[in-house]
Amino acid sequence: MERLLKTAFQFSVLFGLTYTAYGQGITATEIIRQADEKFNGEKSGYSVMSMTIVRPAWKRTVEFRNWTMGRDYALTLITAPAKEAGQTFLKRGNEMWTWNPAINRLIKLPPSMMSQGWMGSDYTNDDILRESSVVTDYVHEIAGEEMVGGRLCYKIMMTAKEEAAIVWGHQIRWVDKNDFLVLKAELYDEDGSLVRTETGSEIKNMDNRNIPTRIDLVPAEEPDNRTVIEIREIQFNIPVEESFFSQQNMRRVR
């Protein structure tokens, strides 16, 4: 969830902030850092999202609400479908728990579950918890400028550092030149084969900032599979305490 929100934040930027002020002298690392810091810079957030998982034989939509504080705290409540409604996920630091009202059980997610798709999607729990940083774990390089979805973007080549705990060989990110929104990301393995593509689209103004409200995730070798995130509502800097992100609250939150 954090990642979902993080992505949403990365795609988002305050209106009126003119990063173009940095001019053409801006470095690739700086571009990525600024796109990433949209998230880190925020104290807290609340959002309503839906996630549609598309498979050749079926399709399902999960709806959820997110509360976040800084990078370390997140609480997610599933609101639909009815079968899974009430299920909550809590992230504190790099630990994660899940509460399932149907079985009345609180489970700490072990590493073995980290790599399973979250709610059956192409996102893994690991994507959500991953400690790696797009800023410090990669070497960045501006590879040109390209148009994505009608906006001019920096094309940034990000090569994973040798010692970094990352499976990817490199990533290419397209960052909007004006708003510093990540509009597209391609993730490659070490042999240089494309593994998955993430694209942001339908940029709307929410809580006074521009954000792409739709994110598509497509695995390269299974083009019939995709996961689509849609942001319905988002608020920034809401009043929330650290105590909100507790195991007790996992059972209470509505």
Partner: protein, 434 residues
């Protein structure tokens, strides 16, 4: 004398005897073959399970056996080490860390067991280092950092076992005398990377006919195989507070034993690096594996080591690999079954003949008992000795009982010899430790 008459009698009717002899020979051959194959399998499995997987003895924290938690290391390590060093029966021993983890590549994820080892010492106990697939890297080395040894099966699951047709592969196939028309069609697949054996065989099926594949399929698959050595694998495991920690390792080599079940899970890294990843200053010892000079000593050595540390438990290979031990024990039953069959067969064979013979004999005797047999030609001689020339055969019931017993007895005695012979061959006896 009876023996030599019996032997001569056999050769009186060559064809009859040969039919029986051939039948028995074939029966015994197939029986021996069957037992031989079984024995070979079991012995090989035993050898592999000991040399690759469990050694002769292992020591764990007693709790670790039920619940493989990271903090459940050996409780009495220094005392145990000293005791093992003092044992003359020991040929080699190692300490290992053993951690349940997840392994990730960009393409796939699987559950694994990561062993933290001391590569040099490990070579004195297990033979995994001899099982490196030719041309597929090497065993970890204490002096090289961040390396991981995975199996062929694990590489397949993590999609690090690729197939690719390159110019070099085609040249090699040309060297193997693969016809040019096949090589020509193979160029259609050139430079395409297939991430699983299944994908590759399906691609081959589209290009070639079944007959061509029967002839060259295996050769092409073998040459096109490309393990992604030096690729990165991300290992995720929980530290003692249950918090996930991650580390990246590079594949240094691919091994392959005869047991895919073991291969699938077992990954090897330097113990020092595993400890660092977990934020530990010292290497964690979850497991001690001991190799003896003689497998028969396992029970005895276990007794010697058992009292040293109350928190740890010592187990022999039989307890560690109960499946192999069970097969071993079952082999003895197979021998009994096989021998039982030989014996029963002989008994049935003789009994069937005996019963048929006795019934027919009884009927003939009954008839002749009425009509009598007249030995007219020799009558004079018989009678000269006081025997009648006309005989009326008589049999009493006790004769039948006696014959039956005699037949069964002879059958058992005669089948005992091959049975004993087979029993003497029992090789598994030698491997038993208790």
């Amino acid at each position: 004398m009876i023996k030599s008459i019996a032997w001569k009698n056999i050769w009186r009717n060559r064809n009859r005897s040969l039919v029986v002899i051939t039948a028995v020979t074939l029966g015994i051959i197939s029986g021996v073959l069957l037992v031989g194959i079984m024995k070979g399998w079991v012995e090989q499995r035993l050898r592999d399970v000991i040399s690759n997987e469990v050694s002769h003895l292992q020591i764990h924290n007693s709790e670790f056996i039920n619940n493989e938690e990271i903090d459940l290391t050996l409780t009495g390590l220094p005392e145990t080490e000293k005791a093992i060093e003092a044992l003359p029966e020991v040929s080699g021993w190692v300490k290992r860390s053993k951690v349940v983890a997840m392994a990730n590549t960009p393409w796939a994820t699987t559950g694994v067991i990561v062993y933290g080892i001391d590569p040099e010492r490990e070579k004195g106990v297990t033979e995994i280092w001899k099982k490196i697939v030719p041309g597929a890297g090497e065993y970890p080395d204490i002096n090289r950092q961040g390396e991981i040894l995975i199996s062929d099966k694990c590489a397949e699951i993590l999609k690090l076992k690729h197939y690719i047709i390159t110019e070099e592969v085609i040249d090699q196939l040309r060297g193997e005398k693969v016809p040019e028309n096949i090589l020509l069609r193979l160029t259609d697949l050139k430079e395409t990377r297939f991430r699983s054996p299944k994908d590759f065989s399906e691609a081959l099926k589209l290009v070639f006919t079944k007959r061509e594949l029967d002839g060259y399929g295996n050769l092409i698959t073998g040459k096109a195989l490309d393990y992604r050595i030096r690729n990165r694998i991300l290992i995720t495991l929980s530290d003692d507070t249950g918090t996930p920690v991650q580390g990246a390792f590079r594949v240094c080599g691919i091994y392959k034993t005869t047991n895919t079940g073991f291969d699938q899970a077992a990954l090897f890294v330097n113990a020092r690096e595993l400890a660092q990843l977990m934020g530990k200053d010292e290497i964690m010892t979850h497991e001690i594996a001991i190799l003896l000079n003689d497998v028969k000593e396992a029970g005895k050595v276990k007794e010697k080591l058992e009292g040293i540390s109350s928190g740890d438990s010592v187990r022999t290979w039989k307890e560690l690999a109960p499946d192999a031990a069970m097969m071993n024990d079952y082999m003895i039953m197979y021998y009994f079954i096989f021998i039982g069959i030989i014996m029963l067969e002989t008994i049935f064979l003789t009994l069937t003949g005996a019963v048929t013979g006795m019934i027919a004999g009884w009927a003939i005797v009954k008839v002749l008992g009425k009509t009598g047999i007249h030995f007219s030609g020799w009558g004079e001689g018989f009678e000269a000795m006081g025997f009648a020339a006309r005989v009326y055969p008589v049999v009493t019931p006790d004769f039948f009982i006696f014959t039956t017993l005699m037949v069964v007895f002879t059958a058992i005695v005669s089948s005992l010899w091959p049975a004993r012979k087979a029993l003497k061959l029992n090789p598994v006896e030698a491997l038993r430790t208790e």
